[in-house]
């Protein structure tokens, strides 16, 4: 058995991604600021990205599926940020606030 601190294995990557995913979830659930929520969202996506690359290297190195998936995650994250920012700017112009819980014109 090697040294846990120097031989980086799959488990290390998964722990990092697990932490990142949970942090993302906590941010998404607790932040009131729409931009903050979007940051949490990027964490969720990037946690999945780390998983894909790590699994590609350790579990299925004969194909590059996981790495290609990550490229698409990057692209979609960029598109998502653009879409979401446009909508957040739109509501900012309407109610001069980007706090999610102040968007409450509709109820019921």
């Amino acid at each position: 058995m090697g040294n846990m601190l120097t031989d980086i294995g799959l488990g290390h990557y998964l722990i990092v991604s697990g932490i990142l995913f949970t942090l993302g979830l906590v941010v998404v659930m607790t932040r009131r600021n729409a931009i903050g929520v979007l940051m949490g969202l990027e964490m969720l996506l990037n946690a999945a990205g780390i998983n894909f690359v790590a699994f590609n290297r350790f579990s299925a190195p004969e194909r590059l599926d996981g790495q290609i998936f990550v490229i698409f995650i990057i692209i979609l994250a960029a598109a998502e940020a653009a879409t979401a920012l446009a909508l957040v700017l739109n509501i900012f112009h309407r109610i001069s606030s980007i706090h999610v819980d102040e968007a409450r014109a509709m109820k019921g």
Binding site: L10, L14, I15, F21, T22, I68, I75
Partner: protein, 156 residues
């Protein structure tokens, strides 16, 4: 082999517990409870913040950033393609669809270029697009002009 996939579960649970510990338990246990107004200041180090942290960026930067996105996306996809391009061309040489590797990416770039043309045509590439024509007077006060009304708003 029994624990072959334990990584994923343990990684996930470890992440959950780690963050929960940090956010809800460790903070409560370790942080000293001091209630005074200075604790609420931005840096908590005696350095009073100057101005508002919420700097207003000009909307035009935002549009430019979005246009930049087009090229960023282009690069991310072109890089892996370029890495295998020679091999692909060697393999497809002489077969039907020999130019496929090239045409494929050409179409990709064309579609992105269409996006660029759209933005251009819509006028989002023009840096000066607003109706504001401000000027500084001799007391260094900036006057924002709206619809030809020079002193409607003034910003120090």
């Amino acid at each position: 082999m029994l624990f072959q996939y334990a990584h994923a579960l343990i990684g996930f649970l470890f992440g959950m517990v780690f963050v929960a510990l940090q956010v809800w338990v460790l903070v409560r246990l370790l942080s000293p409870k001091v209630k005074e107004p200075m604790k609420d200041s931005t840096y908590e180090c005696g350095e009073p913040p100057v101005g508002d942290a919420w700097v207003r960026f000009d909307m035009r930067f935002y549009t430019m950033a979005l246009i930049f996105l087009i090229f960023e996306v282009e690069a991310v996809f072109l890089f892996p393609w370029a890495a295998v391009y020679n091999k692909l061309m060697a393999i497809t040489a002489g077969k039907p669809g020999a130019w496929f590797p090239f045409i494929e990416v050409f179409l990709f770039v064309v579609i992105l270029a269409i996006g660029l043309i759209y933005v251009w045509r819509k006028g989002d590439m023009d840096w000066v697009k607003t109706t504001m024509h401000g000027r500084f007077d001799d007391k260094h006060v900036y006057h924002v002009a709206d619809d030809g009304n020079p002193d409607k708003k003034s910003v120090a």
